[in-house]
């Protein structure tokens, strides 16, 4: 019998090998119902209804999980493509460096690809942000996509998790409204040194979307959701807009829109009250309605 042990082991191993499937999540950046594009002017933005252009629209998303009908979460292992995805972090990038998108890069990306156990999924969860252990690298030496200087603050503060910049025109008056979300309350001897402990306000935004097929329907990031209740023309400088400063009145208005408490840097309530992300329609789901 001993002779057949290897054979037995092999059969067990094969039988237990989990089946996997490739998964592609598709994102779309929108201004209300309109797709975001550099150089396009959108009317009626913010509570004062000004004309505005989007000058940057990028975010890091991480810790992707697929959710099945029972609510069970399984991790999505991201493809390591050497460019957009590193470990469990992916960069979504909707600007192409044209027109007023001067801070950006020509490269764009609207998908996250990876491998998950084979199954039927009805939801997805992820965080907007870079995990702490990757958030305080040396930007010059970090692997892509963590070596983009326009998405990096400092060693101490780490990366801008979410960068959505706008400029508006209100009659003759024009100005900027800038939104950079990242960790705050990080402590180190100088900004050029990484913190030795966790930042007191991580400001990672947990997103959980259910009741849809994440492999077929797009996930919409809607800038108008970020601007709910905000008047672009009355932003308090400096900066005009919100750079996650815990005492910035513009942040006090914006943070509830992503479901975060500005004070704690974590979920306000159950983290479900956010206006930034929603499930989009495909032509099939539209037709079915």
């Amino acid at each position: 019998m001993k002779r057949f042990l290897p054979l037995l082991a092999v059969i067990v191993a094969v039988g237990c090998a989990p089946k996997e499937q490739p998964v592609t999540l598709t994102f779309a950046a929108q201004i209300g119902e309109e797709p975001m594009a550099c150089g396009t002017t959108y009317a009626g933005i913010g509570t004062s209804g000004v004309d505005a252009q989007v000058t940057d629209f990028r975010f890091y998303a991480s810790n992707f999980r697929l959710i099945d009908e029972d609510g069970t979460e399984v991790p999505l292992m991201l493809d390591q493509d050497g460019m957009w995805q590193y470990e469990n972090v992916a960069l979504l990038d909707f600007e192409d460096a044209t027109a007023d998108c001067q801070s950006g890069t020509p490269e764009m990306n609207a998908t996250v690809t990876g491998i998950a156990p084979a199954g039927t999924y009805t939801g997805v969860a992820f965080d907007i942000g870079v995990p702490h252990e990757l958030n305080h690298l040396d930007n010059a030496m970090a692997p892509s996509p963590l070596n983009i200087s326009s998405l990096f603050w400092t060693w101490r503060a780490g990366y801008m998790f979410n960068r959505v910049d706008m400029r508006y025109q209100n009659g003759d008056e024009q100005g900027a409204w800038l939104l950079h979300i990242g960790s705050t309350g990080c402590e180190s001897a100088a900004s050029t040194m990484p913190p030795s402990t966790m930042c007191s306000r991580p400001n990672r935004v947990p997103i959980r979307l259910t009741g849809f097929d994440p492999t077929a329907q797009p996930i919409i990031a809607d800038a108008t959701g970020l601007l709910h209740g905000i008047d672009l023309t009355t932003a308090v400088p400096a900066p005009p807009g919100c750079m996650a400063g815990p005492n910035d009145p513009d942040c006090a208005k914006m943070f509830p829109n992503v479901g975060l408490s500005l004070e704690s840097g974590t979920c306000a309530g159950d983290c479900q009250e956010q206006r930034y992300f929603r499930v989009g329609e495909t032509s099939e789901t539209l037709a079915a309605r």
Binding site: R3, L7, S144, S150, Q174, T192, A238
Partner: protein, 534 residues
Amino acid sequence: MAVAALVHLYIAPGHYAHAPGHGLFFGGLGVAQAVWALVYLRRRNGTIAAVGYALSGGAVVVWLLTQLAATPYALAPEPIDAATLVSKLAEGIAFGALLAASTRPALKYTLGSAYALLGGVLFWGGGLLGEQVMPQLGHQGEHAHAEGETGPHSHGEDDTHGGVTLKTLFASWFGPTGAEAYDWNLPPGFPPPRVPKDNPMTAAKVELGRHLFYDARLSGNGTQSCASCHHQEKAFSDGLQLGVGSTGEVHPRNSMSLTNVAYNGTLTWANSGFVTLERQIHVPIFGEHPIELGVTGHDAEVLARFASDPMYQDLFAAAYPTADDPVNMAHIIQALASFNRALLSGDSPYDRFVYQQDMDALSESARRGLELVLSEDLECHHCHGGFNFSGSTVHANSRFFEAPFHNTGLYNVDGEGAYPVTNTGLHEVTNDPDDMGRFRAPTLRNVALTAPYMHDGSVKTLEEVIDFYERGGRLIEDGPNQGDGRTSPFKSGFVGGFSLTDQERTDLLNFLHALTDSTFITNPAFSNPFSVAP
């Protein structure tokens, strides 16, 4: 088995092109099968037969596993097609024949199958494991290693695209085969610069470039060299408001510092097309509007000056050892580009503080100034960020092209954001109205050495630069350029103005001075090689 070996070897390169892991697997399997076949022809015993079971039956098992479960290094289980089905059937028959030929008929089928399964699963499991450990061997149909590539490429072309391949691995293990590898002497914290494939760095080229850089014979009338407008002690700027060419013509722009030009996303003050030094260097040499070195029309004469000089004959021959006639303009430009690329500066007090953990390298005041530069109140770092204090930075490991241009509100001559017509920045290149007054943010390194400031040298001191940004744009009260840059519709959202106390102003200045690299401006390797002008 020999046939299987040939088939596997034949398909290996094709698979390597899209997933190196597969190519290496097929290549390795093919070689192993070929070697086994040769051995089997000469000797037969239990051990050799067992290896044979694993190699032939194992291949079938691997194939089955990849069909039914997951394929390592691939996106989806392999599709079943006729060619592989037939070849695997053939392989299976060979495996059966091998078993039948066995000298131990009693146990041959079970034991042989066990070996085959074991071999197959080991291969397969090794693949799954390898996928975790070495993900770069995975499936990437098309990808790019570096910005500036004309398009994505497959793994088959990795060695010419800066990727890691067996070829480049062997090269790194066994040393360079051709030219001596160049030692950048990279400052701590600096990634390697990007270098065009057709102009690799060599010490000989840098040395040739250094001589040419300081040699006035590289101008049409023999009066100016590159160094005439790029003085080492001023971090390779010239201290003048505007550059002056070899014929006395005044350039509309201020001569830029050459500090770390190897990392610039684009070259010069405002030209999105100058992505390599090789391309940009044509302008000072051949440009006629304005004339700088003024070589156009004197090309043959300039080349003859170098071709007839024994010192240059040696320098060119050392830099281009395989060229029959190495003295030509293409080589002059390549050598100048190589010397410029070598001008790395990373030994300022700031660098010692950040990268060498010398906590005393910056004064308390300079450290407060550093925090101001990185603060959201001043917003300096949004355009002057990163290790080179410039948002327009690319290097060998960059996968994204970052080369922004910004309008800082320096002018607003018509109330609608216009710059003086002779100097409108990126707009001159693109003619796009939105690009009015947009310029590249230069590095802040050595900034205390490079006065006067801005593209037209119109701001004399660092103190005035700070005042300008504090106001959030420049007010020119009279004259032809009258206007308030603060209200320009083209101005960057980050130039919103701020308010500094006297102490903060001092702190900021102290920090900017702490970006001066005295090693760089005295480095003999970058200095004038001629004790007497040639």
